[in-house]
Subunit: 316 residues, 2 copies
């Protein structure tokens, strides 16, 4: 299987310039002395998540002849918003296929960006998306199972390497694996002495279980859906899993309580609103010190789209 | 009276590099079409506020012969944390003089940075600080009434000009006036077509009242203390007021309810935790459109040190 290269990530960085925010590294004065911590706040991106990077890279590569036919995404989460946002920015039509249990606020968010939203039974999502692609000549922008999407997410690793070349530990959330695959590709190439550690919720710890078993372990969607971290309920594709096994050094998992507490810590100590999925790396830093190497650490805060009532509850 | 120059701000930018975070401009996809909005998130600085910039610049200029005698600051708020943080970073002793009504958490924050904290009756603050300066040969770092502090805060304006040269409106909070004085100096020099608008709470609107009257109007500390925006209860010095009258184009005020709502908007729409003082510019953008020019707008989010219970209340 062909993995993406560091050149793919560099090319993505050129393509997404201006669409994605060049996020800074934020030093944390509350970190342990032997493990100084910086946060990479991808929750500050347009649409509130790193997903803008992969979507922008993949959509920049659509041939001129196919652009007018638009794009299709099936997702109810941050990826859908990223595709809708980028389509508006690029002047392309977009269709977002969402399952019928999607909260109205999320549908509204996609519509606000001008996207057409098609609501279908959850089991029909990929089928309907494929039909739209076939009927309209549109381009599918998958959430993670695509080399261009992985390369786009990898630009986060390039920026970490540029801002903190002496980084020693990079903590990155793992769900479908596109983010971790891309970041690990960039860090391996630019900071070969650093280790990249993937973080999952215990309740959606299929990749950690796979690493522990030494072979791919599959968990049901129902099992993975138990975590509060709703952005981390996916499972890698063959493509992203191959990147993870070859380029991510280790996996750790965190509990639901630790994730909840980390959301509050990020709000109170770093002035960042993180969604539970975006807080798992901070949870690992705070509660899995024994499983992590010491040294200069970067935690990727992947997104911030948390319901305001939940945020208030976690703070109260 | 000598005002600072753009050269002072450029020199400050060199001095504070590495101490202050180079914050990005964050585009807001929820902004009005004719008034695109970017946030300048100074709440992401170490110590959670822009104050690090002025403190870093002023402290970098302390002569080698005086460094071992340390620094003194009288403040219970973000400026004290900034001085304590920078002193630790530079290896200087620091004394923070705080009034006896200061919350224990704020005293603890200064001590965590290694500062000595002296608790005094509120009316004795400046006297005790002056005595410490005289006795120890220490250097006083004032919160705003100092050219180096103003120049340090002005680096925010330089960064706005670099990232968005075509900016048309800059919204900046006004309290003691150091931030607005510095930002206005930089914007006037780098983006002469842009207007700089100061924002105050109505309940601490002494500078707005002064602008309206055409001469300096003084409000009592008791009056100014009514606002929830506890970082905006100070009043300009002669030095900062001279900068404001000559370089800030207009003042607007916002209500307490508007400030509270803006804290929630920044958390839910921009994933930023802002303190009430840091949210006044967003409040002005949202609720004072009639008083503001249209065009590309930047709102400075000056700080994020809000009590977690208050934040939870404003979100709930």
């Amino acid at each position: 299987m062909n993995l993406i290269t560091i050149e793919d990530v560099h090319a993505a960085a050129e393509r997404i310039r201006g669409a994605a925010v060049r996020t800074p590294l934020l030093p944390c004065d509350w970190a342990d002395v032997d493990r100084p911590l910086w946060l990479k706040p991808e929750n500050l991106q347009p649409v509130g998540a790193f997903k803008i990077r992969g979507a922008a890279n993949a959509m920049a590569r659509i041939p001129a002849s196919a652009r007018a036919n638009g794009v299709v995404a099936y997702s109810s989460g941050n990826h859908a918003q990223a595709v809708a946002y980028m389509a508006k920015r690029l002047g392309l039509p977009a269709v977002i296929v969402v399952p019928e249990n999607t909260p109205a606020t999320k549908i509204e968010a996609s519509r606000r960006h001008g996207a057409e939203v098609v609501v279908v039974p959850i089991t029909d999502r990929e089928l309907v998306a494929a039909r739209l692609v076939a009927e309209r000549g549109a381009t599918l922008v998958p959430p993670f199972d695509h080399a261009d999407v992985i390369a786009g997410q990898g630009t986060i690793g390039l920026e970490i390497a540029a801002d903190l070349p002496e980084v020693e530990v990079v903590l990155v959330p793992v769900s479908g694996g596109g983010l971790a695959a891309g970041v690990a590709t960039a860090i391996r190439a630019c900071c070969p002495a650093a280790v990249v550690i993937g973080v999952e919720p215990e309740l959606a710890g299929d990749v950690a279980a796979s690493f522990a078993a030494g072979h791919r372990v599959l968990w049901s969607a129902q099992d993975r859906a138990r975590t509060i971290a709703d952005g981390l309920r996916a499972t890698p594709s063959e493509l992203t899993f191959a990147h993870l096994t070859q380029r991510v050094d280790a996996m750790v998992t965190v509990s639901e309580d630790e994730i909840r507490a980390a959301v509050a810590t990020l709000a109170t100590c770093a002035n960042l609103v993180a969604e539970p999925s975006g807080a798992v790396t901070t949870a690992a830093y705070l509660h899995r010190a024994a499983d992590l190497p010491t040294g200069r650490t970067v935690a990727v805060v992947s997104g911030g789209n948390v319901d305001r009532w939940l945020l208030a509850e976690l703070l109260g």
